[in-house]
Subunit: 204 residues, 2 copies
Amino acid sequence: MKKLIVTLSREYGSGGLEIGRALAEALGLPFYDKKLLSIAAEKSGFSEELLRQAESKATNSLLYSLATSLGVGAYGPDTLSLYDKMYLAQFDVIRQVAEEGSCVIVGRCADYVLREQENCLHFFLHAPLEDRMNRAIKEYGDDPANIKSVVLKHDKARANYYYHYTNQKWGDAKLYDMTLNTSRTGPEGAVKMLLHYLETVKAV
Amino acid sequence: MKKLIVTLSREYGSGGLEIGRALAEALGLPFYDKKLLSIAAEKSGFSEELLRQAESKATNSLLYSLATSLGVGAYGPDTLSLYDKMYLAQFDVIRQVAEEGSCVIVGRCADYVLREQENCLHFFLHAPLEDRMNRAIKEYGDDPANIKSVVLKHDKARANYYYHYTNQKWGDAKLYDMTLNTSRTGPEGAVKMLLHYLETVKAV
């Protein structure tokens, strides 16, 4: 098999993580998601706990959304710059694992980080809000009480930090080689379509 | 075969017209693009020539872009309202042909017009600007001298009238069941992927 890097961006609750893992398994490739955090911690000197906290703040906090959209922020420039350093540490790791060999990477602006990389395909997975709310309750154990706002907050945070680091609109079809509505295909159908795609463009 | 409506939205120069036609042929389905104009003319009482002129102004004129984005416009409310009437006549025809049976429809906000329609799948085709410029010169015979601005003007006009009639962002992945970068797949690969998709979701 030729070298192949796949990046998967996904809306919260679209099943992207599960689909990415199944794709990596089908292709026999290493799969990177949160694992990138531990590697970044090891290589950057930031403790994994600090990275995890920063990531959790970054994806959950409305203040972070405001901060990044304003470009300066409620956390103050020092704190933001710490986030930036930690994201940049992850971006370095993304570049390193892509350099080392074929793999599947989920999230973390990997599509942007690897935009110049050869043999690299970029996918985006999404689904209607209602379906994602149900999946988040059933599969991730999220609290049904405020599930709509939780899902929307995740979407917003992902869109915000994507924009912050790439200056591009997360989920804009033009950024990806293929996008899929996973409610229409189901998780297995999505994996099937990704494999069809790789065959069609002779990437495998 | 079950009833199946396919809508294809596409960037100028992405090969969407050719791909849509090949898909319709492979499925043995009627294909609607400019043909909708003649049908709308026949049914609405507007002359086909007037509809064609309006469409050509709508997709080529910077003034129209400004007009629709401002919501009132340099053409004045009367002229705009004529455009609106003519588009609405086309939307009626889209609903009618979809009601009548399976088909493939390219462009004209058909994805939005048929958003509530059952057995209806929505696709968006795009490609990098450079490739679209080359295709427009080679395949459509566009003048190479100012090709970049021509392609960008078409994109802008499509995005503007899509926004004008739907209040949504043309090319936002979330609006489509699948989107494809046709430079990566090639036209034949894109048709192949569309057929794979229809099989995967058991639409055919």
